[in-house]
Structures are given as structure tokens and as C-alpha cells.
Subunit: 177 residues, 2 copies
């Protein structure tokens, strides 16, 4: 079964503020062609930031899914210019929850929904935390939620955001091992 | 901190084959307005299908992210008409890996990337498996991968697809408990 393909051609069919939509044609090694519509996204980072007592979560309105207080890990988009994901993570950790971290580790990389978007997600573990002044961007309404590590499984049950579930499940593996 | 908002107005700015893009204005309780671009997606299902020996995974080309053999759980989109997610799951399990399941359990529901898409994902546990004739849709090139449960953590390390990571991590919690 062949898994090789090449891009034949494509056009940008929508240019938005955060993402673009491209319609492209691909040709597989056996000659069969496939057309794909892709949401091109700059990529994003999320931070599993914890100390001995709590993991730092946020609640924020997500207008696109109609929810006023979705429980998530702190996260943010990469700059369009191809910012280093670790730099984004450091900036967003300070902006969203007012923390800096001495120790950083890349936990995992993944695609959020590879059937229709190229959004790539970099998930970091951030520890040895210290306080910074939180400064949310003007259109962010973020409630900071220090969630007790002892109730980590309750956070997983209450979480309905993919990146945050992956982060909390990976944290649970480490805490229990 | 208020988390209430209402949709003021909006327009469809792109109509694709699988998704639409909407540009909408929302007003928060304090009067502040926010504009959001949302990829409206019909939603999807994924199946953690396992027996005593293996969890059934697939490898398939994902042209949108440029990868020829992304390791994933079997999955599929809901029909546009608002199909019952369990019906979708049963259909896709047969189509993608040629299996039927006697026992179904909804493991979790989540949004894949709630900052820009309303795609909602229904994750099912499928057990008590029996054989069916696999019949992939014509544009799907799926390699069926029976992955040994004893090496489940290797699958997690090798997986870079959000839905599949969540499914495998939830399975790992159950297998180890």
C-alpha cells in the first residue's frame, strides 16, 4: 500500500485574520489524485505548568464553540513569522497566568485535526515556577484556575479541550509513576 | 470576571466541501465586542477498538499536513445531516478496519481546537470485536495496524494526532489500573 504523494497544484480560497484556506490537488504514487481543503494555521503552544500543589489552568470564553468558560491549559498561537515555540510558550505563560518557569521540557508534538488543518501543537511541561505580572491581550478574558494536583483526574473528567486533555493525561502518567 | 456573551451577527465567508468558514461578531456582558472566524465542521468520531492482545490502529496519508503514514485510531466525520455519533462510529469501524463491536462506551467528548473551529469529537471505546468486511471509501488509503497492547506506551510516543493520543492515553489509564 503506497503512502507517497506529491502536491500537484493549489490555490488560496480564503484569507482570514488567523488562518487561510487552501484548496490543493495531490497525486499519489499510483496516479490517483485527491483534492484537499486545508485550513493553514501558524501553529500553537500549550503549557502544563505545575508545582507540588497545583497545575495552573484557565477558564475562558470560546465564542467559536459557544462556551463561556472552557477549562484549558494556558496556550497561544505562534507568531506568523515562525517564532520559536519555546519563546511563544514563555511569553504566553507570563501573559495568561503571570508565571515564569525555570525548567522547560517538550512533552509532545501533535496535529490537532490533520484531516482538515495543518495546525501543529507543541506541548511543554513548565516547572520551577515564579511569579510574573499577568498581562492578557485585550480580547482575552481569562480566569486563572490553580487546580489541586490531588484532584487531577477531576480536571481530566471536566476538560473538553483536546490539547489540555493530552497535557493533563501525560501529567497524570508522570505523577502516578 | 464575566463569561457571558451573545452573537450579534455574522456571515459565511467560505463554503467548502467539508467545512464552512464564518466571520461573526459577539458581544460580552460588559459591552465589549469580539470578532471571531470559525471553521464550522460537522463533527467527528474516533474508536479505541481493542481486544486482549491488540488495539486496532491505522496509518494513512494526511495530505493537509504532508505526512504519508500518520498513525491514528480509526475515525470519521459525522454526516452533514446530524447523524448519531454512535451510528457513525459503527459504520467507520467496519469501513476502516473491518470490525464490528458488541460493546460500546462513550469515553470522552472534546473540541479539537476551540480557538478557531467548532469541530466536536466523540471518542468511543469499542470492545468484544468480530470481523466484518473492510470497505474503505475510494479516496481513503488505510493500512490497518494491530498494535500489541503490551507496547501501548510505544504507540503513544509514536502518535502525533490529537484524538488518537487522547484515546490511547485513556486506554493506558484503564489497562494499568
Amino acid at each position: 500500500m503506497s503512502s507517497e504523494f506529491e502536491r500537484v497544484d493549489g490555490e488560496r480560497v480564503y484569507e482570514g485574520t488567523i488562518f487561510e484556506v487552501w484548496r490543493e490537488r495531490f497525486r499519489h504514487a499510483d496516479g490517483e489524485e485527491a483534492v484537499r481543503e486545508t485550513v493553514r494555521h501558524p501553529g500553537a503552544v500549550g503549557m502544563v505548568a505545575h508545582d507540588d500543589e497545583v497545575v495552573w489552568l484557565v477558564r475562558q470564553p470560546r465564542e467559536s464553540v459557544g462556551i463561556g468558560d472552557l477549562l484549558e491549559i494556558p496556550a497561544g498561537k505562534l507568531d506568523e513569522e515562525g517564532e520559536d515555540p519555546l519563546d511563544t510558550a514563555k511569553r504566553e505563560l507570563a501573559e495568561e497566568i503571570g508565571k515564569a518557569a525555570e525548567t522547560w521540557e517538550l512533552l509532545h508534538e501533535f496535529f490537532t485535526s490533520p484531516g482538515f488543518t495543518d495546525e501543529r501543537f507543541f506541548l511543554f511541561l513548565a516547572t520551577d515556577l515564579s511569579d510574573r505580572h499577568a498581562q492578557a491581550e485585550e480580547d482575552e478574558r481569562i480566569e486563572i484556575v490553580p487546580w489541586p494536583l490531588a484532584r487531577l483526574h477531576d480536571a481530566i473528567a471536566a476538560c473538553h479541550d483536546a490539547k489540555s486533555l493530552i497535557g493533563l493525561l501525560l501529567l497524570a502518567q508522570r505523577v502516578s509513576s
